[in-house]
């Protein structure tokens, strides 16, 4: 069971919602659609489901063209951001509903419903009505409804957004485990880079209706094809600093210099934009190569046991992602250490020309 999108576009009222997407999903794969709000994640899922028809292009399942086949004649499931269950049916009947519509025998329905409910740990609530359950259990019910039938494609449209942090982590882990044993294609839309990383599998980065990059999640994370992908796929977004490469050294904004190291030596002299992940900049040097940079604190954003430190020097802004709680006051002068061997370099048109080695991926 494979799902292939060939040059798929969707135009609504003259506005391009999906722009020429080519995507091929393998049987048994877990695929994350990563993109901000309005990047086209839901629209793309609706096309995959057959809820909408693409304006151009072709959708193939197992090599068969299903572009014009309506959702009723496809075998898919979908889980939504909202907890969608039939309000006046018990949890049992909710989970059983797709099977009943498929005219399955009662004993088979019963077996499957109980098995799926057990898997999602809602087997003790089968007689309840959905509204008597907590949000997490309601969403588990909706997931059970999606998983109970043998769908070829299961679509998750930001299913964990409306749940609290703890439940989200728990369900995310279970979800991944549930799919290990299955041979269907799972597609999971999210706005959060960290969620994509936690789910692993493959990631497709969407931006303004365009598919920027698709590949193994770690590969996409470590070797983003261009600067937008790199910005989309890191939280906080990757720091971008304009710079110049000469025969012997790298200059940031005419002011900060360092010797061209072995990593960056293959770069042609010229203008580049350098990316550095927020977690790679430190308050103490990690190696002799690290560039000391005097900066001024704008804001220390403390989130749980992590701190996002926003700083600037006269020429550019930086964000540091530090573990632990660090308190600084505004305009405090500090020194940060810039890892010169962990730099991404993008050329003037934004394409990746150098990625730091030894970070994983390929």
């Amino acid at each position: 069971m494979s799902l292939t999108l060939n040059n798929v576009s969707r135009v609504v009222d003259g506005e391009t919602w999906i722009d020429n997407v080519n995507l091929s999903l393998e049987p048994g794969s877990f695929n994350v659609l990563l993109g901000r709000t309005l990047s086209g994640k839901t629209t793309l899922m609706r096309l995959m489901a057959g809820l909408d028809r693409p304006t151009h292009g072709q959708i193939m399942m197992n090599g068969v063209d299903v572009t014009g086949v309506p959702v009723r004649e496809r075998n898919i499931s979908m889980v939504y951001q909202q907890f969608i269950n039939y309000p006046n049916m018990t949890v049992y009947d909710n989970i059983a509903s797709p099977l009943r519509l498929a005219k399955m025998s009662n004993s088979e329905i019963d077996r499957r419903v109980r098995e799926t409910a057990e898997m999602l740990r809602i087997d003790s609530y089968l007689d309840r009505m959905p509204l008597q359950l907590s949000g997490g259990q309601q969403q588990r019910t909706a997931m059970a409804r999606a998983l109970v039938k043998d769908s070829q494609v299961i679509l998750f449209d930001e299913p964990l957004v409306n749940l609290d942090y703890k439940l989200r982590e728990e369900l995310r882990q279970e979800l991944r485990a549930l799919f290990k044993a299955r041979n269907c294609i799972a597609v999971y839309a999210t706005t959060e880079p960290n969620e994509a990383l936690a789910l692993s599998g493959n990631t497709a980065v969407l931006h303004e209706g365009k598919l920027l990059q698709f590949g193994e999640t770690a590969e996409v994370y470590h070797r983003p094809k261009d600067i937008i992908t790199a910005e989309m796929f890191s939280e906080p977004p990757i720091n971008v600093v304009p710079g110049r490469v000469s025969e012997t050294e790298v200059t940031f904004d005419e002011t900060v210099h360092f010797q061209l190291n072995n990593d960056l030596r293959p770069l042609e002299p010229g203008n580049y934009r350098f990316g550095v992940r927020a977690s790679h900049i430190g308050l103490v040097p990690h190696s002799d190569d690290d560039l000391e940079l005097p900066v001024q604190v704008d804001l220390a954003e403390i989130s749980g046991s992590e701190t996002f430190l926003h700083v600037h020097n006269p020429h550019f802004d930086l964000v540091l992602h530090l573990s632990g709680v660090h308190e600084y006051h505004v305009d405090q002068q500090i020194k940060v250490y810039f890892p010169t061997h962990k730099l991404y370099a993008f050329n003037e048109s934004g394409r990746l020309v150098h990625a730091p080695a030894g970070l994983g991926g390929r």
């Binding site: 797709p98 519509l101 498929a102």
Partner: protein, 288 residues
């Protein structure tokens, strides 16, 4: 430790007591006052206890009116609720058509009761009314002024025309409140149109339907103006509902004592039916 009593808060509640007293309790007590006394003038009054109530309870004219009233109310509920739901389901949901449909559906609601009666009085006449003329064309000897059944049906039809839009608008708002994803999910489940209605739309409409049924029941149970204008309660007593009987008694015959007793019984009937209906629905929902 002694408890410090501070009764100043009562002053804050006082306005509510005053408003409720003037809006409900004092008028109602006046009626109670009349229902247990025989009053000739402010200085001549006799306490009669439950005599008026006994008289009212055994009055066969009132029994007939009560039965007529129940048949009428349940008939219009049986027509207006399903029809209102059907209209709401058929109304367009977006674009210019939606606003247009809303306005068109709402028009009957904007017409005052006595005007509605007048409209149908003219509309139904065979000589000058479209409806009457149409029935005559169809070969039906339709005459609401002389045929009791025709008169009754006309009042029903008039009420359906006047009030189905209310049910339709309530249901329409209820339907709009259902997120689009429910319908999507149903399509993915391959659910039929009927299943969508039965398992998504109807359950989500329960709350507005409770309001709709209660409003329509109370209103239709108190119907007065339209039959008064259209038929004056006739021919015979075929469209004499409870309110007509009450007015005939209170103003026509000036039997204020029995009329007051009757008012209270009338009030209690409405209260009782609404309560029974409401608790039944609530229990049904709880059982599920």
């Amino acid at each position: 430790m002694t408890k410090v009593e501070n009764n100043k808060a009562w002053w804050l509640v006082l306005p509510v007591f005053l408003i409720v007293a003037f809006s409900a309790i004092i008028p109602l007590m006046t009626v109670v006052n009349y229902s247990v006394q025989d009053i000739f003038d402010p200085y001549t009054r006799y306490f009669v206890g439950t005599e008026w109530f006994k008289q009212v309870m055994t009055d066969s004219r009132l029994h007939d009116a009560l039965i007529r009233q129940f048949i009428y109310s349940f008939t219009i509920l049986a027509i207006e609720i399903p029809l209102g739901i059907a209209v709401a389901l058929m109304m367009p949901t977006k674009g210019r058509g939606a606003s247009l449909a809303l306005i068109l559906v709402a028009i009957p609601l904007l017409i005052p009761w006595n005007v509605v009666g007048t409209i149908w009085q003219i509309f139904g006449r065979a000589d000058i009314g479209l409806f009457g003329a149409m029935m005559a064309e169809l070969g039906i000897n339709y005459n609401y002024a002389s045929e009791p059944m025709h008169a009754w049906l006309t009042v029903v039809l008039m009420d359906v025309w006047h009030w189905t839009p209310l049910v339709a608008l309530l249901c329409y708002s209820g339907l709009r409140a259902i997120p689009e994803v429910y319908y999507q999910a149903a399509r993915i489940d391959k659910a039929s149109r009927w299943a969508v209605f039965r398992y998504i739309q109807l359950p989500k409409l329960t709350n507005v339907l409770i309001i709709g049924v209660l409003l329509r029941f109370m209103d239709s149970f108190m119907i007065y103006t339209e039959p008064f204008v259209l038929t004056g309660g006739g021919p015979g007593t075929s469209t004499t509902f409870l309110s007509q009987s009450l007015v005939q008694q209170a103003i026509g015959q000036f039997d204020l004592g029995p009329a007051a007793a009757f008012s209270l019984v009338y009030f209690l009937i409405i209260l009782l039916v609404c309560w029974v209906f409401y608790t039944t629905i609530m229990n049904m929902q709880k059982d599920k």
